[in-house]
């Protein structure tokens, strides 16, 4: 019996646990995410310079900066969530992945020129 258990353990496939296999379902999502990333990139390029598509005006600087940051964060989330499979990852890995964002938040708060 003990030998049987040991044999089972030896043949245990660590990847059997990646329950997100879901990949067949994710397969279509890959292409939707790809399309979303391309559209967001096109919007990003136009926002600072609308003249690129023949528009004869400029967006306010505050709108340009804030909208570009929001779009970049959404694109980052799309890549991490779908392409890096955080969508189906264990909470421990999601927590590990969040560390740099917390670090960046502290950096931004600490370095922002609060006194203009």
């Amino acid at each position: 019996m003990a030998t049987h258990k040991a044999a089972d353990a030896a043949h245990h496939d660590p990847n059997a646990g990646w329950g997100w296999l879901g990949v067949k379902g994710l397969y279509n999502q890959y292409m939707w995410v790809w399309l979303a990333l391309l559209i967001f990139t096109a919007i990003e390029v136009v926002i600072p310079e609308p003249a690129m598509i023949g528009l004869d005006f400029h967006f306010p600087r505050l709108f340009v900066v804030s909208s570009l940051i929001v779009i970049a964060l959404v694109k980052t989330w799309l890549v991490a969530w779908y392409y890096m499979h955080l969508i189906a990852e264990r909470p421990s890995i999601i927590l590990v992945a969040c560390c740099p964002f917390v670090f960046s938040l502290f950096l931004t708060i600490g370095l922002f020129p609060w006194r203009f």
């Binding site: 600072p48 980052t76 992945a97 020129p113």
Partner: protein, 211 residues
Amino acid sequence: MATHDAAMAGPGPGEESLGVTNGKLGMWTFLVMDAMTFAGFLAAYARLRWAPGSNWPLPIEEFGPVGIQLTALNTFILICSSVSMVHVLAEQLRGNMVAARKWMAVTVIGGLIFLGIQGFEWTHLILDLWPFVYTDATYGFNQNFAATFFSLTGFHGLHVSVGVIYNFILYLGIRNGKIGPEDTSITEIAGLYWHFVDLIWILVFTFVYLI
């Protein structure tokens, strides 16, 4: 002896920690460390730019619409190579290693094109736009812009170069039959690195080229 026993009690390279393979956990740990390094670079860029009287140029004016469009094309190529990388894993899960090998080739070529365009861009900037990089010439704006630009894009380019080599090794492994349909963990870990490179470029492109 006790140390040896403790080491033997721990999970091996292909086994699990925190419910995932050690390889994946190792890659995530590395990526987190790497992301913090990039965060430091971006924070330095922001701090220098925010400094009072920094005379920082507006990137869209410095690079010009054509320069931004070229970099947008590069972003497009990197995103495409990212989607080709997920197709490698998807095809491997389906057991279709021939298709997986082809998608991996597409991923490698995408990375090479990205590096080629970046090399072209650097050459143009150094030789034509920013002569102070290699001569004593002075320029009207804060030269920290060029310094931080080359640091950020260069460090990212280094990551792309490593990723291309990494993916090419996997391509050879698939071609020679050393990586089979059951070795999904290897591809997934390589994919994590490659998508991370894409993710970082999204931020670099926004902060250095567009804002």
